[in-house]
Each structure stands twice: as structure tokens, then as C-alpha cells.
């Protein structure tokens, strides 16, 4: 569905990604050390940075030069790393923001509020005052309200309490079952591989390894990443 082919990209003069091609699949996991370029790859997928080489194709359409909001309209959704929310807006406003202009917007919000009870509880509070984990839940909820075809998640369980991690993992699996594709960056290799149909390992911006998902791949990946 989302094809990232032969990508080069970076910041200013520093090149971060070197000829990266990501395999396609229902759930694709991107693994790698700190600073390997995982976030850069996802930012590129959503359109926050533009590739200097290579193509981004979604549903057969080349979206390489589309602005992020246009990509969202095409069915991509993005949960950035680091529990990001609109701090000056209330929790509810954060959700309304994306629900605005959608049919059944209210229902979509309610669905997410019941998925994440903490958000329901703090609906009227400024998102900037939420705890890190609460903000992360809010970010995922916000992404889901756009009813995406492909969900891009950058370390969604980072800083989340185990019970909710389990829920989020469950949710991701469920979404995949519902037919939503997922591009996932996750340090939690075990879960990532369990969920993933395919995975790719990045090291210093190069693809060092790709393969099929499943728990069995864990040891291969650990070995690949230990280099």
C-alpha cells in the first residue's frame, strides 16, 4: 500500500537515509538503534521532509511532493515520537480538531474516548497539563479519528504504563485485523515482530536487514542489531 523506494533524505547538508527501500506489508516494523534514522523515515513517509532521491507511493499514487495534510486526506495518519499534543487546547479540542468536517465526527470522538478512558476523564483539561502517557494516548486517538488506511506510529508505547502498552499493542493488532495498515517503529522488538508481517532493520541510515515478521525472527534481528 505504501511504497518507500530507494529513499535518500536528510537535514540540510547531512544525509541521514541512504537508498532505503522498505518492504510492503500489512504491518511493517522499522527497527534500529538510536539515531539510525527511523524517525526520519517516518517523517518522510508523512511528508514532513522531502526525499532527495527515491519515491513515496501510496495506493499507486506518487505522493512524494504532497503536503502532509494532503496525505492525511488520502488516508495516512501519523503518531509522532514523544507524546505530542496541542498543549494549549483541551483534550477534547485536540480530538475535535481532527474530527471537524468529518461525517459522524462526534461518534468518532466518542469511540476514541471509550477506547482510552483516561482521555474521557480529562476531556476538559488542557492537553499541555496531561501526563506523558496520557498525551501519547491522545496522540493515537487523534490519529485514529481520521479513519486512516495506513497508520504510521513512531514508538507508540514509549513512556506508557504496561497495562496500556498491552492495550495499545492489542489495538494495533486489532487495527491490522480491521484492515488498517501499519508502519511501526518500536523498540519493543518482541511485540514489533509479533505484529509485523515484514520488518526492516536500519543502521546509520542504511538498510542492513529485512525479513518476515513473527516471533521467530527475534534472534536474527537481535543479532543483526548487535553489530
Amino acid at each position: 500500500m505504501l511504497e518507500l523506494t530507494d529513499i535518500e533524505a536528510g537535514y540540510g547538508r547531512t544525509q541521514v537515509l541512504h537508498r532505503v527501500t522498505v518492504p510492503t506489508g500489512k504491518v511493517v516494523a522499522v527497527l534500529g538503534h538510536n539515531g539510525a534514522g527511523k524517525t526520519t523515515l517516518l517523517r518522510l513517509a508523512i511528508g514532513l521532509i522531502k526525499p532527495t532521491r527515491g519515491r513515496v507511493v501510496f495506493d499507486g499514487e506518487d505522493i512524494s511532493s504532497l503536503a502532509p495534510n494532503k496525505r492525511v486526506a488520502r488516508g495516512l495518519a501519523y503518531v509522532p515520537q514523544g507524546q505530542q499534543a496541542f498543549g494549549q487546547l483541551t483534550t477534547l479540542e485536540n480530538l475535535q480538531l481532527v474530527a471537524d468536517g468529518r461525517r459522524r465526527g462526534k461518534a468518532l470522538i466518542d469511540a476514541q474516548l471509550s477506547r482510552f478512558p483516561a482521555l474521557e476523564k480529562f476531556a476538559g483539561r488542557k492537553a499541555g497539563l496531561l501526563s506523558g502517557g496520557q498525551r501519547q494516548q491522545l496522540a493515537i486517538a487523534r490519529a485514529l479519528i481520521t479513519e486512516p488506511k495506513l497508520l504510521i506510529l513512531d514508538e507508540p508505547t514509549e513512556g506508557i504504563q504496561p497495562t496500556i502498552v498491552a492495550e495499545i499493542e492489542h489495538t494495533i493488532m486489532q487495527l491490522a485485523d480491521e484492515g488498517i495498515n501499519v508502519l511501526l517503529v518500536e523498540q519493543h522488538i518482541g511485540f514489533a515482530l509479533e505484529a509485523a508481517e515484514r520488518y526492516v532493520v536500519l543502521a546509520s541510515g542504511f538498510v542492513t536487514h529485512t525479513g518476515e515478521g513473527g516471533l521467530a525472527a527475534a534472534s536474527t534481528v537481535r543479532a543483526a542489531m548487535a553489530i
Binding site: 537535514y11 540540510g12 547538508r13 547531512t14 544525509q15
Partner: protein, 364 residues
């Protein structure tokens, strides 16, 4: 920036030679005097570079400190010229009233010199302490300081008997005993200004290469983080702010004998912004940028302003736009840009990170 101190030092040396020996030889009296005036602005600009370029405090009211030095000096020179008489302009409004109390001490040369140094230190100290402790920063700080400059200029304009009002103070005959009209003495005054500019450059040079310089940048980029390293950022900023105020005051004080007149217009909103313009043009965070930028803007005003007055306003406007838009680090960043093009892949500073901080500042 701290790696090659001798490059900067020899730069200052070269600058000193140009200002102190070459300029007096090649320039006419008129242009030498003008250069002296630009140097006054340059002194203030060096301070702005420290506070704004390095410290991130957009000081839009340096006119306030420029005024402190300038009016202290002007009051002394006015009294020196008037002798035991009440200055002429005061007679117009109330011929019988004595000299206002606050003028009296300025009869003394020593007091005047002390005031030029201490007044800005005290005023900036109190103001800065109050503002920084209350964590006033970003756009708030800029607008507040600008408002102060406007308020002071209006105050001076409206206290016509006490300060000369909008007309300002002028027509000085002596400068600490020296007859100001004497060309030799005028040269001396020029040399004093030029030397003071060099001294200010040396002072900030040492600031920039010192640990304080690094701490100042750290405070600029992440003030709260500095707090969590055990420093009070208010104090760090205060030092830079006070030093920049002192420089503005010195620039203002020398402006008076050089130009022969000081008025509220030299300290109000427009003047304060023009000081910033030079700094932005030259390069706010560089050592020489602010001084050179101020001199360039001064020169542009004198020369382009006369050949093409309407045009100069447009040029000045465009200068602001083009420089800030395309050359945020000023003209002094041009050489570095070319050098970088020649060398392969040097690290780029991560721009968005800084921007985020700045945005927070504007909004917080």
C-alpha cells in the same frame, strides 16, 4: 568560535589601525566626524550584539541607555557652556526659577563621567533584575523595552524646561575644558570614540571566548535547562544586559560632543530600531558584525539619504526584509557560507530545535 583567538584579535587590531590612523588621514573633517557618529552607534551595537545575538534578548529600547549617557554628557556640556548662568533654553519658560536640582551635580566632570557609567548599570540592573526574575522574555521583553524607550522619549519631550524637550540640548562650546570648535580637539574627540569602540570589541571578544559566552548561548537556547544545572539564568542575562546598557550609554555620551546635539528622537522607537537594524545587517551573533553593520547603516543614511532620500527609506526597508529573511546571521555570515560550500558536509545546526524554543518564548 573559541578555537582561533588570534584571528579575532588580529581582526580587532586591523580595525583599530583603520579607525585610529587610516581614517583620520584619508577622510575629510566632515566624514571623519560622521564616522565618529557611526562609531557611537557601533558601540551601542556591540552591546546589542551581546544581549541579542548571544543572549537572545531582543533589546528594542537601547535608546533608554543611550539617552542616559547622552543626556548626562549633554547636561554637563550645557552647564560648562552656560557657566554660572542658567542655560538659555530654560529662561524661556520660567526666567526666575533656578536650575533644576538634578542638573546641579552635572557641573562636576567627575560626577558626569561616573554617571555615564553608573546610571545605565543601576537602571539596567534594576530593570533587568525585575524583568528577568519575573521571567519576562521573548516578544514581551522586546515590546516592553521598546515601550520604555517611547515613554522616556515622550517624557523628555514634555519636560521642556528640565530637559530641553523635543528640541534637545545643543550648542556646546566646551568639552571638559577643550574648545569644541577647534579642529584638533574634534580630532581628539573622534579618537576617543574610536578607541572606546575598540575597547568594547575587546570586551565582548573576551566575553565570547569565555565560559560566560557559552553559558549565555545556553541560556538563550534553553533557559529553563540552565536553571536545572544550578545557575540562575536571570543573573546570566542580567550581566549581558547590563554590559550592553553600559555600552549604549557610552555610545550616547560620545554622541553628544561628536554630533553637537541630542534630542529625544535619537532615543525613541525609531532610533532604537535603527540600532537593531545595523546589528541585524552585520550579523547579530558575530564579533564584528554589529559594529560594522551599525557603521554601514549610518553611512547609508548619510550618503544614500542625501542623494536619494525617498529611495533610502525604501532601501532601508528592503534591507530589513532581505537581510532578516535570507541572511538571518547577517552579512558576516556570507564568508562562512562560501567556505562551507567549498568544504564537504559540515554539520548543520538543527534549526527546528531552536525555533521551537523561540516560539515558546514568544508565546510564554
Amino acid at each position: 568560535m573559541t578555537k582561533k583567538p588570534w584571528i579575532s584579535l588580529s581582526g580587532i587590531g586591523l580595525f583599530a589601525v583603520l579607525l585610529l590612523t587610516v581614517a583620520p588621514l584619508v577622510l575629510s573633517d566632515h566624514w571623519l566626524n560622521n564616522l565618529g557618529k557611526y562609531c557611537c552607534w557601533a558601540i551601542a551595537a556591540v552591546g546589542i550584539g551581546l544581549a541579542w545575538g548571544r543572549g537572545g534578548m531582543l533589546v528594542m529600547g537601547q535608546g533608554v541607555f543611550f539617552a542616559l549617557g547622552a543626556y548626562a554628557m549633554a547636561m554637563h556640556l550645557t552647564l560648562e557652556t552656560a557657566g554660572d548662568r542658567v542655560p538659555g533654553f530654560m529662561v524661556l519658560y520660567d526666567p526666575l526659577a533656578p536650575l533644576p536640582m538634578f542638573w546641579e551635580p552635572f557641573r562636576s566632570a567627575g560626577f558626569t563621567l561616573a554617571a555615564i557609567v553608573l546610571l545605565p548599570v543601576v537602571v539596567a540592573g534594576i530593570l533587568g533584575y525585575a524583568l528577568f526574575k519575573r521571567r519576562v522574555k521573548g516578544a514581551y521583553f522586546a515590546i516592553l523595552t521598546q515601550a520604555l524607550a517611547v515613554a522616556l522619549a515622550t517624557l523628555i519631550s514634555s519636560t521642556i524646561r528640565e530637559t530641553g524637550g523635543d528640541t534637545g540640548l545643543s550648542d556646546f562650546k566646551y568639552f571638559f575644558g577643550f574648545v569644541l570648535n577647534d579642529p584638533a580637539n574634534r580630532l581628539m574627540v573622534y579618537l576617543i570614540v574610536a578607541a572606546l569602540l575598540i575597547v568594547c570589541l575587546l570586551v565582548v571578544w573576551q566575553f565570547y571566548r569565555s565560559r560566560f559566552g557559552e553559558l549565555l548561548i545556553a541560556t538563550r537556547d534553553a533557559e529553563e535547562r540552565v536553571r536545572f544545572l544550578g545557575y540562575d539564568p536571570a543573573n546570566v542575562k542580567l550581566v549581558a544586559f547590563v554590559v550592553s546598557a553600559l555600552m549604549a550609554s557610552i555610545g550616547g555620551a560620545m554622541f553628544v560632543p561628536i554630533v553637537g546635539i541630542i534630542t529625544p528622537a535619537e532615543i525613541g522607537a525609531a532610533a532604537s530600531i535603527l540600532m537593531i537594524a545595523g546589528v541585524a545587517l552585520g550579523g547579530r551573533a558575530s564579533l564584528f558584525g554589529p559594529a560594522l553593520g551599525a557603521i554601514a547603516v549610518g553611512w547609508g543614511q548619510s550618503s544614500l539619504g542625501s542623494t536619494w532620500p525617498d529611495g533610502w527609506t525604501y532601501i532601508l526597508g528592503l534591507l530589513f526584509i532581505v537581510v532578516i529573511l535570507f541572511l538571518p546571521n547577517g552579512l558576516s555570515s556570507l564568508p562562512a557560507r562560501f567556505m562551507r560550500r567549498a568544504r564537504p558536509k559540515p554539520p548543520e545546526p538543527p534549526a527546528p530545535a531552536i525555533a521551537a524554543v523561540e516560539l515558546e518564548e514568544v508565546r510564554s
